[in-house]
Subunit: 284 residues, 4 copies
Amino acid sequence: MPDPFVLTLSCADRPGITARVTSFLFERGGNILEAQQFNDRMSDAFFMRVEFDPGAISRDAFRAEFAPLASELAMEWKLSLRDRPRRVLIMVSKFDHCLADLLYRWRIGELPMKPVAIVSNHPREAIEHTDLGDLPFHHLPITRDTKPAQEAQVRAIAEQSGAELIVLARYMQILSDEQAAHFAGRCINIHHSFLPGFKGAKPYHQAYERGVKMIGASAHYVTGDLDEGPIIHQDAESIGHADTPDALVRKGRDIESRVLAEAVRLHLEERVLLNGQRTVVFRG
Amino acid sequence: MPDPFVLTLSCADRPGITARVTSFLFERGGNILEAQQFNDRMSDAFFMRVEFDPGAISRDAFRAEFAPLASELAMEWKLSLRDRPRRVLIMVSKFDHCLADLLYRWRIGELPMKPVAIVSNHPREAIEHTDLGDLPFHHLPITRDTKPAQEAQVRAIAEQSGAELIVLARYMQILSDEQAAHFAGRCINIHHSFLPGFKGAKPYHQAYERGVKMIGASAHYVTGDLDEGPIIHQDAESIGHADTPDALVRKGRDIESRVLAEAVRLHLEERVLLNGQRTVVFRG
Amino acid sequence: MPDPFVLTLSCADRPGITARVTSFLFERGGNILEAQQFNDRMSDAFFMRVEFDPGAISRDAFRAEFAPLASELAMEWKLSLRDRPRRVLIMVSKFDHCLADLLYRWRIGELPMKPVAIVSNHPREAIEHTDLGDLPFHHLPITRDTKPAQEAQVRAIAEQSGAELIVLARYMQILSDEQAAHFAGRCINIHHSFLPGFKGAKPYHQAYERGVKMIGASAHYVTGDLDEGPIIHQDAESIGHADTPDALVRKGRDIESRVLAEAVRLHLEERVLLNGQRTVVFRG
Amino acid sequence: MPDPFVLTLSCADRPGITARVTSFLFERGGNILEAQQFNDRMSDAFFMRVEFDPGAISRDAFRAEFAPLASELAMEWKLSLRDRPRRVLIMVSKFDHCLADLLYRWRIGELPMKPVAIVSNHPREAIEHTDLGDLPFHHLPITRDTKPAQEAQVRAIAEQSGAELIVLARYMQILSDEQAAHFAGRCINIHHSFLPGFKGAKPYHQAYERGVKMIGASAHYVTGDLDEGPIIHQDAESIGHADTPDALVRKGRDIESRVLAEAVRLHLEERVLLNGQRTVVFRG
């Protein structure tokens, strides 16, 4: 049996889209394994994700035959192999708990990815608790003056390694607007805060000072405004008066790791579609 | 614009079901408002729920025209008006927190139902904390000897009132197998325990004795085995060593109320489909 | 056996406070039922709450004998009867779900309070879904011009009714700084948002627009800045892309009701101590 | 300043225990950093945990002077250095996610422990995803016939390495009653189920078959009955109809890892006291 395909699409809503797309699949021998759609009645937009056994049709043939329908309905669409590991570049600074978590999940086969490069603004020795194995590691220090050159290097590494997704796994540098635009829609950041609660630096200390009773973390696509991109996933936990800022940082690590891993999994499985400043997330 | 319809169906999975159903709708001028499907690859079964504006077609015409397709695919299916309040019979004993919660949600328009009868094995005075307003109240005491007769009365009230759903809102009597069979698929119970953890009587006291660190509640369809029907919704909360059985009962009330209300809402909106001992729940 | 007392206190931390307070109790025949303390090592402050059977000592005698120790350690302290229902004034506008929830909990004996007045800026008919029974209801409309006079009326009602706690149960008016100061430390608001995320009006619509994946609510003491008082309790829930602003409002009602009820319970049981902008919450 | 001490104790409840214990500390120059007590009014038992700066007194002197009071009140008690890393033996079979998680937390200084041995019934190569570094690894295969001998080896390793805590990190063997008794009160197991829901083998498959809507995990002290020891910590998560048994296993890994790590942290910090079949857990 051929590898399953994943088709994702969005367009303006109108009657008959589901019928036309699923009939298209059926007529070519496709067999749906999983399908979701969302009719956004607030914005009259339509979103769909279909996993299917393609039968005899090739990806190229599918694309060629689907293009006229996609064009007629003014779709944004993407067809990909469901099970092909996506190539991922991971960026990190000194805190490596998200990196360690992502690599462990990759090693046991939980995340369908192939890490192609680790980039850090700190030397390899700074990542002291994580086994990087043979993964290519790039130490790209950054200062205010060298930022444009460093970002160009990141883009070059991304290009040469064929990276499809950039994960900022507690990379404590703000991307320039140009860099954010370059990686638009394929760069995920973990914000160690429950957005939009505590933007900016030291959110756990901010949370402590404010005396909140829950903390959380947010995984989102990176845009020019670091704290404002479309949110993919969030989680939160209760805290108490005895939790010092250090305790919040400790509890935060767990939330950050699992929120980022879930967002990366959803993205790798093509389950996240952009809807303006918002996201449509088709869980299985 | 005519009132939206809801179509729910299940059948053995095979290629083309979605295409055929959605094309059927499209060809008759239907416009999908919300649609979900589930291909159960463990059992090769298919489940679907579609909300749609029917356009010019009437319900009777739809039913007549859809029947051949449903028959060909050996579907179990149901077509209903989405916004018509379902007629609901609520049964209760002495603890009325679930009843009070359901009635409040009904009064503010949150639950699309019309309570047609309240049945209790205790007199109306036992429901001292809930405003029953003008709702018909039936005191049907029960003993071992009168159980068959009492259950026949309940069936008669359900029939005369046109009840489509029976909600056991902390009704502390076990239905006979016959009664459970009679109301199969349209009788929801709140089990004041996190099934299958603590079946039987006094589950909070059982939980206390066992020293668990979480308690919960389960809403499920009633079958002959009271604690074993298909589960619709569950929730749980953390507890601590200082929580006495009384404190567990207090915390449990909150969980029970919201778990039952959510299960009732899901059922009323035709979002719950049976899948053997399990349920498929299509949230919005 | 006499009714149990609750002693709460806070002061600068130093060695021996617990020993001196508990020895004081022991020497007078007191028997501790529940005790908690918190040494805030960030601010070097000490907080304590003790429930105890007082033995033969009266409240007045206790107060007189405890005063020198309290004075020496520069304590803020309070001694009260644990089981005496506190007198509560509830303010509400049109949305009555929090009011209904509080009154139900009161009626079944879950909240140790005695509602002494309901105040609304809308007429009694606006509270159409809640059974107010015989509770005194005060319709105090408010406009920009009449605000000082209306607030004076509220203060008069609070005084005449002996209200110890003012609960803003979705009272959609901002208290003046004077009013907030007047009720400082004994006025709880439910903010229908997960503070500090979405301050100001229509937080659920703000949350929808921002595309967050969780919503929540915050119960806090009222200060001059409505959205900034010390937080007592918060909770949050996951939402999805299909949740419209209306769905968020519906889900929010549940969170608001239970967060406010929990904060009110904690306050009524003397479990909340102020720690600057933060709170110390001694759960049982 | 000397290292802080932790004193934990339990005894029958009676008036004055707190006063006597805290006065004892105060008179010897001790300064309380954190203290909790629990008066179990269901069983009339008393539990206490105190962290304190000991001032000039040594541990031996403290023990000698405290012994008469402890004896008079028939206490079970323990005095230890708060910050001394406890020596831990970790047992594992093939699934190493809990092991990897524990070792990462140890490496970043989150868990105050010193792993002294890793024991597996499988060879080192079976632990393929976790960096064991220089930790002593013992491959102790087990069969029905060799079980007594293998367990004796485990006891010998525990003794020689000075292990204070034994962690069963998905060690898929049932300890004999003798072994469980030998390690009573210092052996923690992660049960990959929400006890008492699904005991025995393959709990996620059992959960799938039953159609539950939440899964969880339980960390507990090991007793002769593997699934019945006192529970330290539990957590649970919602699941849906589309979650296959494999998906439950994946989601379960996250819950297991964090529940076990939390239970181990609580134990290492001397925060868990046994109360018959139940536990008292003094969180910070």
